[in-house]
Subunit: 738 residues, 2 copies
């Protein structure tokens, strides 16, 4: 507090905002009276109510103006978006206004993101609308009005239906809030780390597609049923296409005009960003003008254009949601809670990164949970951050949650004073506003070529996330996308580089012999140094061992030796007393392949009787024929294999067993396998790796030590290659592989 | 072929088995007539029909005796198990005998595992039974027989019901076979690498629990409905407990006697394994004796003990399955196909490892698929490998698939000749046989203490696999278990070691300064070498950066500096022109913590007015109070941070961005971050890492080079520490950390 007071008093003579400063001071004093609490309680309180940490040090002079401008700009957007998204949520428009007030106010106290604009959001509204329509379908509210004859005309009791849908949306929101609170208190905010950027961008693009298609019917002024569940996008699109003949031309014209106008305003705002003090509030202009025109021309009556309809003035008293609906909504609530949090935290992270502060995932969950839970008592539906509004809030100079606070006050003003004014607003205008707002999201399609160049795996995440979310719906789509993203990690551990290292002469540095051939990296005689940048665990221990065998050519070595022993007349039975030269599995396979490729008969010509297999020079040429002769000479001399474990991050019991068994197998043919640079000593001990023939002697702190050991083992010490000159030519090294 | 002929002829004068040898020769000749095919076709044929590779070289003298003994022993087991498991599958017992013949015969040709015994298996039978009962419930076949009054007694048309259930089982088997074939041809055998050992053992233990509970009702002679789906085990158990009062005492006594007898035989077989030429066939003894007793005493009529019932003699003509049922069964078929394959391949792998040959996952899929598909035309239900039979087949000296072939012939003999003999066999005896066979599986519970010591993560996989499979059913359980196993890999990448390295004097070796303090590993002045054995990707880039910051103490450094600058009267506003010393996020957090812990007021005493925060010595003591003073002096001198990338296996765009931004942040406070031992150069380039301030100059092939660079950068070159003596004391090093 002293700090804040100090700054406040020292600055007080310089600026005219004395009144605000004083208020600020009082607020600070009030907050700091909490400080008599125990330290731990204090910490918890501060983390639960982040406003306590930032408001006392709120730099009025620097921040307030920006926050006011930003708050007003955002508030102006909250209004039309609230109306528009209420339609998506299948509730009367005024509930969108409520939703643009209560949660936004609450977030000021609980939120940690300074730039996201909480409130109605198209995707979430769409998900709520789906549930509301499912739980309160039109068919439930058709009052049969007998018209004198036997026939009964079904008349829709829209009032009862809407009331019911509001109830569904509200209890759903309450449940979402509870789930988010529970997840927040259980510290489940960490799950967001699985929402990698390509995933979120693919997902939000898919969400934009969902919303865009849902808006088409409003733009065209046609009526189609709502679909939900997998493939609902396609069903909706088909329904709209079928309904095109019933298009309301007036509605389309108004909608398209609005789209063109809004698009122009958006372009101007973008282009003259530096010159405009505040972006032109295109949306509110469109709303005001079209409301006026609609009212003047009475287009609702004359041209049958759907309008917003009744907007009651003032707020409703709080009410307890109808918990009897709860059981049906649980799955939906989980999906909405997760999607809402995902959208919010990914936006918050983007802004936090840009402005150099951190957001706390758990606290964001709690903040969203509080907003949803408390607001549900005030007839609101679920909220999250909206990308379009957040961008405006940030770009108009918003610095803290104060901007959101002011925006909510502005909405409040409209609700209690002039809400009824918007009654003649055509729905097609709202659709136009929503669609233009989606443009930014669709721009994310441009990610694809960049990702293609940068990383195919991340492109795959983007595409899977997009397609799954479009086709399966946002809830299942998100699940599939996260599952896929996790599988890519597994895939990466299973597709490592497998290389043979060689020493760069007189440096003690060991590099890929193929890649660094220029700098003369060469293998040490009789020693194979195998490096694979992967952990060794159940899903890739087989791959590791196979790669090792392939790289050290044991396969061909064994195949050759097998044929040689055969030629010497040794019995070929599996139980023979022939001392196996190589792993048994290789033996069998080697022989099979030899037979198949004709190598064995070729070496064994006098017994084929001319009618059996002929030497097939062209069969599997690169597998056996071309390779086996030189390899025979080269590999027969290998006495040691060094496994470079420096890049092995973890090992499990399956991996340890695999390594141990391959060590034993090679030991049978007098090839010693040693481990170098192994950081997993403790793990290996626990996995009982060092039992039997495998001892600690086979472990070396570096490749170089292992090489020296291996050279020492087989013969007199060679002239020491150990003196390591300071590697001044590392630059050459680095550049040579590019 | 020449090879085989050579061996065959050279051995022919030595052994009396000339007849068999000749047959063998003819078979070989027949097979090799295929060799006129093109080489690729040949390869495919050989891989599709593995018998072509091993039969021609079948060492009659060495293998045949073992195979015959093993085949007879296994065949003797196939009989009672076939009868017992047919009951599990809810089909008449004779279909179990069919299933013990056709698929076993086929596997001889297509299988690659030499020791697994294909045939009926309890778990699979149970799954099939669940589907059969669902699709053909008792209620479908109750014929209402009016008995004169108004009431109608429901009489069960068991014959029609059983016929229907057979149809369901057969079409399900056909579908399973098709799915397995498809997966095999699509080379999906690799999925088994995700079936890690703890997972399989937990899963099979759970399967044993399922089967055990399903057998209780037969053992007790009571009748309960069948349950399926999640929690079916608990429902079944409750139903059995409720039904206990209706226990048939005779059945229980017979069953328990059989269990005791079988258990004794099992113990004798285990203890005198070396002395017995062949294990005592306890099961067939029990079956024969109890059949005799049952027939003699007519226990079915007199004591109402359920018996096996009608067993028709001979085989049925093949028939096309009823494909109209297909759509309902698709999900079940997938689950059964996967479980059947999982069980089979995990058994096959165990034996292959033990005997040093390799099994081909894809070919095993094809083999199982062929067995199931073809057999389904002969009224069989789904098969897989049975653990109990496979153990017998292997331990009695079975060497190749010939053993299975002989076993199937033995079953054939019984079916066409003396099947009817088993009609009076009590069902409780079959239940006893099944239960005793499960003992081996339950022994896997002993894994738990061992895993507890070796690896908690693998224990978690075991336990999750077990509990999920018991509670959710085997299909969902397997899915959950595989998902969990994959998540453990993610978890491992997210819980790496994070260490600061120091040089062991005059070696050029860099080790954990804490762990290797004994060998004098010490940090280089002004340089922090950060090592973390993890890849840097979306799910752990945050963790990596946070660990880095924590380890190099930048947090406290920044907090202190922040307070110092504040004391100097600099404005505290976020937008001040103060050159930031450290990452902004740290700044904010640092200040908050300072205020909370009372550090700031403590340094700033003259302005607190005595009434605000008091220095709270006991708040977060290890976080701030005790640390900040020494750190202040020590860390202010850090000029370089070296990130040891040698253990970084892969990096994605999120990770690259995170590293780049942390490099920039530290550069702002004149701390240079360089990368050492980076094997990811190509990846980093593609991710556009080397743009802007980050250049290739910051990349070094080894830590040592990076250290030299950093030392060179800040001052005159120190006396070279580069001469590296051959590290003869590596053993000390390795042992010091144990």
């Amino acid at each position: 507090m002293s700090w804040h007071q100090n700054r406040a008093t020292s600055n007080s003579h310089k600026f005219p905002l004395i009144l605000l400063k004083k208020a600020n001071c009082y607020i600070s004093c009030f907050f700091f009276s909490f400080l008599n609490l125990q330290p731990i309680g204090k910490t918890i309180l501060f983390s639960f109510l982040p406003i306590l940490t930032w408001l006392p040090s709120y730099p009025v002079r620097q921040y307030l103006f920006g926050d006011v401008v930003s708050g007003l700009s955002t508030g102006v957007m909250q209004l039309p978006q609230g109306l528009a998204y209420a339609l998506l949520a299948a509730v009367p428009p005024v509930y969108g206004l409520y939703t643009s007030f209560y949660p936004v106010l609450l977030y000021t106290f609980f939120g940690t993101s300074k730039h996201t604009s909480i409130g109605t959001f198209a995707v979430i509204s769409l998900m709520i609308g789906g549930v509301a329509v499912r739980e309160a379908p039109d068919s439930m509210f058709s009052v049969s009005a007998s018209n004198g004859t036997n026939e009964t005309d079904a008349v829709l009791d829209t009032e009862a239906r809407d009331a019911r849908r509001v109830e569904v949306a509200v209890i759903l929101t309450c449940l979402v809030g509870l789930i988010q609170l529970a997840l927040g208190f259980l510290r489940f905010g960490f799950v967001t780390i699985y929402l990698t950027e390509p995933l979120v961008r693919g997902f939000t693009t898919a969400a934009a597609a969902h919303v865009f298609i849902s808006q088409l019917k409003y733009l065209l002024g046609i009526r189609t049923p709502r679909f939900r569940g997998p493939l609902s996008v396609i069903k909706s699109l088909v329904a709209v296409l079928i309904g095109i003949p019933t298009t309301n031309v007036t509605a389309v014209i108004i909608g398209l005009l609005c789209i063109v106008f809004l698009f122009m305003i958006k372009t101007i705002n973008d282009r003259f960003k530096d010159k405009l003090p505040v972006p032109i509030p295109g949306e509110i202009i469109v709303v005001i003008i079209s409301t006026g025109i609609s009212y003047g021309l009475q287009i609702s009556d004359k041209y049958e254009v759907d309008i917003v309809g009744k907007i009651p003035t003032g707020l409703l008293p709080p009410a307890v949601p109808d918990f009897s609906l709860l059981p049906n909504l649980f799955t939906d609530a989980i999906a909405i809670a997760v999607v809402s949090f995902s959208v919010s935290i990914s936006l918050a992270k983007i802004f936090a990164l840009k402005h150099g502060y951190s957001v706390d995932g758990n606290q964001e969950l709690i903040a969203l949970g509080m907003c949803n839970f408390v607001s549900s008592f005030f007839h609101c539906f679920t909220i999250t951050s909206s990308m379009s509004r957040s961008l405006v809030q940030e770009s108009t100079g918003g610095k803290t949650q104060i901007a959101g606070f002011l925006a909510s006050l502005m909405v409040l003003l409209v609700v209690v004073a002039i809400g009824f004014v918007f009654q003649p607003l055509p729905q097609t205008v709202l659709a136009a506003i929503v669609m233009v707002n989606l443009l930014g999201m669709f721009k994310q399609l441009r990610d694809i070529p960049g990702l293609w160049r940068m990383s195919r795996i991340e492109l795959a995440i983007w595409v899977v996330s997009f397609i799954a979310s479009v086709l399966l719906g946002l809830d299942f789509g998100l699940l599939v996308a996260v599952g896929f993203a996790i599988l890519t990690v597994i895939y990466r551990t299973q597709s490592p580089k497998k290389i043979i290292l060689g020493e760069i002469p007189n440096t003690g540095l060991y590099c890929d012999v193929d890649e660094y051939a220029e700098v003369m990296a060469s293998e040490c005689t009789g020693i194979k140094i195998f490096h694979s940048n992967t952990s060794i665990y159940f899903a890739n221990s087989d791959l590791y061992i196979n790669a090792l065998r392939k790289k050290v050519n044991s396969f061909w070595l064994s195949g050759q030796f097998r044929v040689l022993t055969f030629l010497k007349g040794t019995t070929a039975g599996g139980n023979s007393n022939l001392r196996p030269l190589c792993p048994k599995a290789d033996l069998e396979q080697g022989v099979t392949e030899m037979i198949l490729s004709g190598s064995a008969p070729q070496l064994d010509d006098e017994q084929t009787n001319g009618k059996a297999v002929e030497p097939l020079g062209d069969s599997d040429p690169e597998d056996t024929h071309n390779l086996h002769k030189p390899l025979l000479q080269e590999n027969i001399n290998i006495h040691s294999i060094i496994l470079d474990f420096s890049a092995v991050n973890f090992i499990d019991s399956v991996g340890a067993k695999a390594i141990k068994s391959v060590m034993k197998e090679y030991a049978e043919v007098d090839v010693q396998i040693v481990l170098a640079g192994c950081p997993l000593l403790a793990d290996l001990r626990r996995l009982q790796f060092f039992e039997g023939t495998v001892t600690l002697d086979l472990l070396f702190p570096s490749i170089h030590d292992a090489v020296l050991h291996c050279q020492h083992r087989v013969g007199p010490r060679p002239p020491s290659p150990t003196k390591r000159e300071c590697c001044s030519d590392h630059q050459t090294l680095v550049e040579s592989c590019c």
